[in-house]
Amino acid sequence: MARQRFGLEGPSHTGHDVGHWDGLKAGELRIQRCGACAEWIWVAQPLCPSCHAFDPGWEAVEPDGVVYAWTRTWRAFHPSAEVPYTTVLVELPQAGNKRVLGLYTGADDPVIGSRVRGEFESAPDENSWPLIRWSAV
């Protein structure tokens, strides 16, 4: 299966998630976490929805998770897409059960509830960002 990229990664225009992408450059999976009340926050926000402290911090967690949902895409919705490819939604028990999306490596169907581990893949060029590829443990 192709280890493809879509060229559509990097911080969003709000910049709320820049800590996550900087983490990937440093070889870490970083999830937003409030420095004041320790609440895990994902999707990234400009303030903690729980205690309203602004500019929540970032905490690195191990790229270990559990498959929460998945889909295998059969239609090329992007000019560079090679189908099929599989995307997983991974639940992170060590980060307040927050869920992150990622590309799945392997031809078998992911099994919801089963463990997966992520591997960091460095950026292929200076215009790209590192990604995490998830596979069954």
Partner: protein, 388 residues
């Protein structure tokens, strides 16, 4: 104050639903055509419209429409926020609130789309950030597919429910000459043979966008009596979300629901004075079949889990034989998809009596709005009897 009986749909209008990129007019032109058609249906001058409400990044602002139509006065214009089809019910309720509070007297709820002008899938633009796109999630179908996969794999809702909903829409479209699938029936064999788009959703689980426009006109109930045809009174409606949903996207809970939380459903019944057993006919927004099944479970028409398959059979969803007739003009799948306006029109037509597949003596008509979106909603329309 509540919205029960405060406003009524007095007119329903639409353009032809064109194959995308083939509409003869701009989006604004298409919406104008639908509004004129709705005013004709109501028997009023289109210049009497003084309010405009739409959703989902509709590019035809009320100011533009009011100018194009030369209306006497613009008193209300609003756009319901949020990606996906979830703004559809909020747009209706904003129109009703404007009427109930005297801010406007005749408000149009409409949606138009011309993809030659706006580009492909204009309703999805800007709603998939890089957390999605970096991992190949680029369109609404893939997001809905992930949730549907969990609904099937973990909640054990049978895949046959998706098939039944798709087939019911195509079945009803065969007696709707306006439907894009009119004359193009779909059977179980063809459904099962259709290609995978994003597992577990097949081509025939997916709506395909059309260019066109549709509109309903709402007026105060006392003024509705002076219009042509039977008014479809608003019995109640809910919009928005309960904490744990909203823009949390893939972190929404409960993930396999439609987002229509129990507190919202209870408020809908309490406000409208009817129960789930009183619903005579349902229109459910099915951009894709899976989320629509989740919506039907949320509202309580269909049981959760494996038992969903016992209720959701093709026969049970048809006007002729079913206890739960739904998507009676064909739905988004088979009537046509202009960001869900078609199911709005049909929900009103069932009460007004001019549905292509009328449910005999329908008194209570349920509309389940765009599912699994940041905000969701449900509306009940009723006949004069239902209001009594």
């Amino acid at each position: 104050m509540n919205l029960r009986g405060a406003a009524a749909v007095v007119g329903v209008g639409q353009t032809v639903y064109y194959q995308r990129n083939t509409a003869p007019r701009s989006t604004r032109g298409l919406v104008a055509e639908a509004l004129i058609d709705a005013a004709r249906d109501a028997g009023i001058d289109v210049r009497q419209i003084d309010g405009f409400a739409s959703w989902g990044d509709d590019p035809t602002e009320g100011t533009h429409m009011a100018t194009a139509l030369g209306v006497h006065e613009l008193r209300w214009s609003s756009l319901a926020w949020g990606g996906g089809g979830g703004g559809q019910v909020p747009a209706i309720l904003q129109a009703a609130a404007a009427i109930a509070t005297g801010q406007a007297t005749c408000v149009a709820v409409y949606r138009g789309m011309n993809q030659a002008e706006e580009g492909r899938m204009p309703y999805a633009k800007g709603h998939f950030d890089t957390q999605y796109s970096a991992h190949g999630i680029l369109t609404p179908v893939q997001v809905c597919a992930m949730r549907t996969q969990r609904m099937l794999e973990i909640d054990k809702v049978p895949a046959s429910t998706l098939e039944a909903l798709a087939l019911a829409g195509y079945h009803h479209a065969q007696s709707n000459p306006r439907a894009v699938a009119y004359g193009k029936p779909l059977d179980a064999e063809a459904y099962r043979a259709s290609r995978m788009i994003s597992e577990p959703l097949r081509r025939h689980d997916c709506s395909r966008e059309n260019d066109g426009a549709g509109a309903i006109l709402l007026m105060a109930a006392d003024r509705a009596k002076d219009t042509r045809g039977k008014p479809a009174y608003l019995l109640g409606g809910v919009q928005g979300f309960v904490a744990g949903w909203g823009e949390l996207t893939e972190n929404q809970d409960p993930y396999t629901s439609n987002g229509l939380a129990p507190a919202m459903v209870e408020r809908l019944w309490a406000q409208s004075g009817v129960t789930v057993d009183d619903v005579d006919v349902t229109q459910v927004y099915e951009n894709f079949t899976g989320p629509a099944v989740a919506a039907l479970i949320d509202i309580g028409l269909v049981p959760a889990g494996p038992a969903a398959g016992e209720v959701m059979t093709l026969e049970n969803l048809t006007v002729e034989k079913g206890r739960l007739p739904m998507n009676t003009a064909g739905g988004n799948l088979a009537d046509g998809f202009v960001h869900g306006i078609g199911v709005v029109l049909e929900a009103a037509r069932q009460i007004r009596g001019d549905s292509p597949n009328p449910v005999p003596n329908a008194k209570v008509s349920l509309l389940l709005g765009g599912p699994m979106a940041p905000q969701v909603g449900a509306v009940l329309f009723g006949s004069e009897d239902a209001l009594a």
